[in-house]
């Protein structure tokens, strides 16, 4: 594995490329090509951030071009001749090129649509101060608001309806709640299995156990979700006796099953990478296998185990189909037997009905950006932990 990697004479050239001999132009070009292609992973991360963020951008900068208020000021179509092109563009939300292409009849038609939309609203709504609220402002997205008909300020995600209630807090709670239940279920099992497979099981058994547990990762999440919906929900309800059949608990357990192979794999790798000599020394001193595993191997591999848990959390937060199939009510509650609506569920379920480019569409992309940011951080943390593990093990050797 060490083809001159650590040689001190080695000097990396353009793009970190090391060749070790002179090369013709064609070969250099090919190398450049290889280097450029190899940057694609970096480019993709960057592009994902850019293009998911781009659709959410007007909300991120709180631009006036997105306004989700049910009742908006209307300029009567008869006033069209009095308006300047700038006013028309601002009012109709179009750019100069679009305006150039339109004749005055089309513009009038657009203004008429606005007028009719306003006239068709019920009287009660026209008077409701909430209906004039632009609900994609940070204040509405994050803070509770006392809507008409409610006795106190509440966090509400009800995007469909005359007034679009876009409070994202219930969704964050829903994602956290289901993921934490999933982790609470998955980590003990996955960690126990990792210790058993890496430290206690006989080598021959081990050869079989590891791929068998990892087989679980081959089950598509949509299959896990529909299994949870049809079978697990009934079994768990009978066992625990709670009232509503589909809730965050069922979703969490199903998520846990999806997360087990991830936590297991990473923790098992970390535990296996602890030098055998550590364990053998402990065993020679009279420790039992369990003591060697718990007091020697586990502490040494701890960063790797953490990495497994963190990456498992990232996977649980990002999992879509399971939660979508099992539970989806956006309830603001930490009770594990209540329903929950996760960020991923919301995006998956509502995207098809959202009008491209409007406030709902942009809020969904905002959720995607948040999700990406969260998993970016968990991935980074996982990476850091794994590096720490490597350094720790190398340092001790």
């Amino acid at each position: 594995m060490t083809h001159g990697r650590n040689s001190s004479r080695r000097t990396a050239g353009w793009g970190g490329i090391y060749r070790g001999h002179r090369a013709r132009v064609g070969e250099r070009l090919a190398e450049m090509g290889i280097f450029v292609v190899s940057l694609s992973a970096i480019a993709l991360i960057f592009l994902i951030f850019l293009f998911v963020g781009r659709e959410a951008w007007p909300i991120l900068i709180q631009s006036d071009s997105v306004n989700s208020a049910a009742v908006q000021d209307v300029i009567p179509a008869v006033d069209l001749p009095k308006l300047s092109p700038e006013q028309i563009r601002a009012y109709l939300g179009i750019d100069a090129a679009q305006l150039d292409r339109m004749d005055s009849e089309t513009i009038r038609e657009l203004m008429l649509v606005r007028e009719e939309a306003f006239a068709s609203l019920p009287q009660s709504l026209q008077r409701d101060p909430d209906a004039r609220l632009n609900t994609v402002r940070w204040r509405s997205l994050i803070l509770p608001h006392q809507w008409a008909g409610y006795s106190r300020p509440e966090f509400i995600w009800q995007p469909i309806g005359e007034i679009h209630k876009y409070n994202i807090v219930p969704l964050l709670v829903g994602s956290l709640k289901t993921s934490l239940i999933g982790l609470a279920f998955a980590v003990p099992f996955a960690l126990g299995a990792a210790i058993y497979v890496s430290q206690i099981a006989r080598p021959r058994l081990r050869e079989w156990l590891k791929p068998a547990v990892e087989l679980l990762s081959g089950i598509p999440s949509v299959v896990m979700g529909s299994f949870a919906l049809i079978v697990m929900a009934t079994v768990l309800q009978r066992f625990f006796g709670y009232e509503t059949r589909l809730n965050a608990f069922v979703a969490g357990i199903a998520l846990g099953m999806a997360v087990i192979p991830i936590v297991f794999s990473i923790a098992e790798d970390a535990l296996t990478s602890v030098p055998r000599s550590f364990i053998q020394a402990a065993l020679a001193l009279g420790a039992s296998e369990w003591q060697a595993a718990w007091q020697i191997a586990l502490p040494a591999a701890l960063p790797g185990v953490f990495a497994g848990v963190v990456l498992g959390f990232g996977r649980a937060v990002g999992e879509t189909m399971i939660v979508l199939l099992v539970c989806s009510a956006s309830v603001m509650s930490w009770n594990i037997f209540d329903s929950a609506r996760s960020i991923t569920t919301t995006i998956a379920a509502e995207m098809a009905e959202a009008v491209a480019g409007n406030h709902h569409y942009r809020v969904l992309f905002l959720l995607g950006t948040i999700l990406f940011a969260v998993t970016f951080v968990t991935n980074l943390l996982g990476d850091i932990f794994i590096h720490r593990l490597k350094r720790r093990l190398e340092g001790k050797q």
Partner: protein, 288 residues
């Protein structure tokens, strides 16, 4: 070696993709239909029946949701858009911006929403006002609507479904669903839950109804209650009904597509509606 052949192959493939893409629209006589998943089975049936009679016309139907359909109508990737709700002003605006005209609207079928309770419930009817109270969380016990002294469990649909939106607009009249309402991913899942829960109430398409009891619905409390059937939905005595629509760019409403649209609203087309479990349009609605 591998690298070069693979990348060369993928390049050819991209080229092929682009060329094939450019060609696929050139096929004449094809009508594309896209939109609401509620309507996709009906639209498919229509297409099959129509193509059986008019061999020269090809009709391609896909679902994806009403919103997706409108987006496709606006950027002209579909000829017809199926919708389980009326077009929204913002969607009309994007259409005008894209092709200068309002899309033309055709009502194509009627749908009645049923109210489901557990099969052992003593209740037989419920009024619109009571439904609003129950689903918004104001009424929490069955005894308030003349039933036994037992808590009500409310089952609702996923908030992206057309059914949810319709129910919220017409029964809740803009109020929010109770926070305690359970949301179900589909009407079938909802029915399954209602069938197992003695205190349950839920709503869904009229064609379903197995395993649970369907309540009659009255407009006012104590008024005459009706069950949903072809007659009561068509004459409007059953209060929870909606229209299903097809939208089209007026420019395209001619030739094959125009003929197909008027066929859908003819007796033959409306006979198909009944087969799928919706209700045919009344003559009055057909004229409009």
């Amino acid at each position: 070696m591998i690298r070069t052949t693979l990348s060369r192959r993928s390049l050819t493939w991209i080229a092929a993709a682009v060329i094939a893409g450019a060609h696929s629209l050139a096929v004449a006589g094809t009508i594309t239909v896209k939109g609401s998943d509620t309507l996709v089975i009906l639209a498919q049936k229509w297409a099959e029946t129509y193509m059986g009679k008019h061999a020269s016309t090809k009709i391609q139907v896909t679902g994806g949701g009403t919103g997706t359909g409108f987006a496709a109508l606006q950027n002209q990737s579909t000829d017809l858009c199926n919708a389980s709700r009326k077009i929204k002003p913002t969607e009309i605006e994007t259409c005008i911006k894209a092709f200068g005209k309002r899309p033309r609207e055709y009502a194509v079928a009627l749908d009645g929403l049923s109210i489901y309770v557990h099969s052992e419930s003593p209740l037989t009817q419920v009024s619109l006002e009571e439904l609003q109270g129950i689903f918004s969380g104001k009424i929490r016990n069955w005894k308030e609507v003349g039933g036994p002294n037992a808590p009500i469990t409310v089952y609702s649909r996923e908030n992206s479904s057309g059914t949810y939106e319709f129910f919220k607009e017409h029964v809740l009249r803009g109020k929010d669903f109770a926070a305690s309402a359970q949301t179900m991913p589909g009407t079938a899942a909802l029915l399954q839950a209602v069938a197992r829960d003695k205190g349950a109430i839920g709503y869904g398409g009229a064609g379903y109804g197995k395993g649970a009891k369907t309540l009659k619905v009255s407009r006012e409390k104590g008024g005459e209650a009706f069950e949903a059937n072809e007659e009561t939905v068509a004459n409007g005595t059953y209060p929870i009904w909606r229209l299903l629509y097809v939208y089209v760019n007026p420019e395209l409403d001619k030739g094959d597509a125009g003929a197909y649209l008027s066929w859908i609203r003819s007796d033959e087309g409306q006979a198909v509606v009944k087969e799928v479990g919706y209700y045919p349009l009344t003559p009055h609605l057909r004229k409009k």
